[in-house]
């Protein structure tokens, strides 16, 4: 599953449209939109709200470590080196308030600029920030990082920012901002695709086998210890190029009444797997 967090509806609406996401009417606390493999939540502005929303969807939708959390949103820049509407991949986040740094892994977006982002709990205007000449500022990323690192593999928390202004965020035209997201949507889609492919490497190679072992152990009243031994033998058989599923299927409809009988069947299966 890909979880997307945006602060504003403005940032979310081009994504909702592109991925044809439907509103989840069962959720009242947040606006959540989803399809089969993407769930988007609108968090509100600020890192605490972002962290809360991220934790909410990650736990509500029972995320796995292989799932992906993407924060897509606007950031301000104090340097004309960036272009308005440009997409930047973030490889370091400095939380201005706590002094803590976060390092998202970046294994995608070969030709896209990678930069450091500062995360502040309050809006920063031109002139407020004189420390560094090339700086990007947002208000959510540190919260997303805190939430992501608790639930997911580190490479699966991703911060994508689009330059909305040069630290003069007043009176921005909503349609122009939406246009910035729309213009980058194919890049965002490519990044999501790359991330999904990366995680394919982590797919459980014994998914099918695990399911059958579970059914079998239930039917035949095998103990937890027997289940563990059986699964190990099944894995070994598969890695040696055998077809353990076929062997297990032979026993799937069998039922046992007494413990002794179960033990005998267990030994039979183990023998066949060797």
């Amino acid at each position: 599953m890909v979880f997307i967090v945006t602060a504003l509806m403005l940032e979310a609406s081009p994504l909702i449209e592109y991925y044809n996401l439907k509103k989840d009417m069962n959720i009242n606390n947040y606006q959540v939109y989803k399809n089969e493999d993407i769930t988007l939540i609108i968090s509100g502005v600020g890192k605490i709200k972002a962290a809360m929303a991220a934790v909410y969807i990650l736990s509500n939708f029972k995320c796995k470590k292989e799932d992906i959390l993407v924060n897509i949103g606007f950031c301000g820049a104090n340097s004309l080196k960036y272009n308005l509407g440009e997409l930047i991949i973030i490889n370091k986040i400095k939380d201005i308030d706590s002094g803590k740094d976060y390092y998202p892994d970046v294994y995608f977006g070969k030709n896209i600029k990678k930069e450091t982002l500062c995360c502040s709990s309050k809006p920063i205007f031109k002139g407020d920030y004189i420390d560094d000449n090339n700086i990007l500022i947002d208000m959510e990323s540190a919260g997303i990082m805190e939430a992501g690192q608790k639930f997911l593999y580190v490479h699966n928390t991703v911060i994508l920012k689009i330059i909305s202004d040069f630290l003069n965020p007043k009176n921005l035209d909503k349609e122009i901002l939406k246009g910035y997201i729309k213009n980058n949507i194919s890049l965002i889609d490519e990044i999501i695709y790359e991330l999904k492919s990366l995680n394919d490497l982590l797919k459980n190679p014994f998914d099918k086998e695990e399911k059958i072992v579970n059914i079998l152990c239930e039917n035949l009243n095998f103990t937890e210890a027997m289940k563990k031994m059986l699964f190990k033998e099944v894995k070994k058989a598969k890695l040696k190029g055998l077809q353990p599923v076929n062997i297990l299927n032979e026993f799937c409809n069998m039922e046992v009444k007494i413990k002794k009988e179960g033990k005998r069947v267990f030994e039979q299966i183990m023998e066949k797997l060797k």
């Binding site: 470590k65 490889n91 370091k92 740094d101 390092y103 892994d105 970046v106 294994y107 990678k114 450091t116 690192q149 997911l152 593999y153 580190v154 490479h155 990366l198 995680n199 490497l201 982590l202 459980n204 190679p205 014994f206 190990k232 894995k235 070994k236 890695l239 040696k240």
Partner: protein
Amino acid sequence: MSRLWKNSNKYFFDSIYIEESALNYTITKNIMEKYNTSNFIIIKHYKDVFNRTNQNFIIQKQNQSLILAVKSKPFIYKGPDVCQNFGYSNFYYTSFLLNCIFDCEYCYLQGMYPSSNIVAFVNIEDFKSEIKDITSRETSFLAASYDTDLIAFHSIIPYMDYFYDFFKDYLNLLVEVRTKSANDIFYKTHKPMDNLIIAFTLSPNDVIKKYERYTPSLDARIKALKTALSQGFKVRICLDPIFIGEDVSFYYEPFYNYLFSQINPEDILDVGYGFFRMSKDFFKRIEKTRPDSLLFCEDYSLKDGILSYPDDLQKKVMENHFEILTKYIDRNKIFSL
């Protein structure tokens, strides 16, 4: 890291993390110049990146980043019992690098570190002074490339160049550099020294293909070994780890015969011999990260916290292997654990 840089044979790192305190060291400056299209990310301490929770070793191995850091004490460690000491009681090891560019399925580093990114320490003078301090009292054996491959890393950071003069002048120290690399630049550009042993880890080609991802073939390693010999370097052969199993055992006899048809055994300093072994804790961790590994699915016997083949089986296989090996090389030139 993309394995190779465009069409050259240079490794490329997409991201290079640099500790603030490492910025002014020569190694850092050279790396920044050499990899000037990489993304440099300044960090406070290497552990802020290297020790993050929930890193995935397998994913990172395919996308290795480089982390340049300043190491703090200790710089050298007493050699553990699972390593061969070749008869030296003062046995130490040191790590200029954490992790390795190769990806051997059996490598214990997967169970030891939370990350497969490579940490390269840049403060080589600090290493030198501690090595000098600790080992000046008596003759010592120093494994300098036991849990990485310095020769393979030579084209990225030439540690062997930085330490060459130090090792050369410091005869009290016998240094072993273990490698699976086919890179022979070092042997061609440096004079041999009496207190330096290049230890080539060699395995049957099918074992290499099965377990030693990204490493050079047997023939490529033999070629490098021959270059080292012809340049006058002291060469050790490491037959370690040896695997036992119906799918691999039969590779060893033809391998030994082939090896000594290619290399004159008289030219070899000695041979290290050891079976696949690993601490139970590392094994348990790797079992989880490599669910598709047959090696980590097998049952082993446990002795003093180390998993390996049962003693009687080891004895039987070793006798059989030694019978072949001693046709070529004197028994007392073969060291085993």
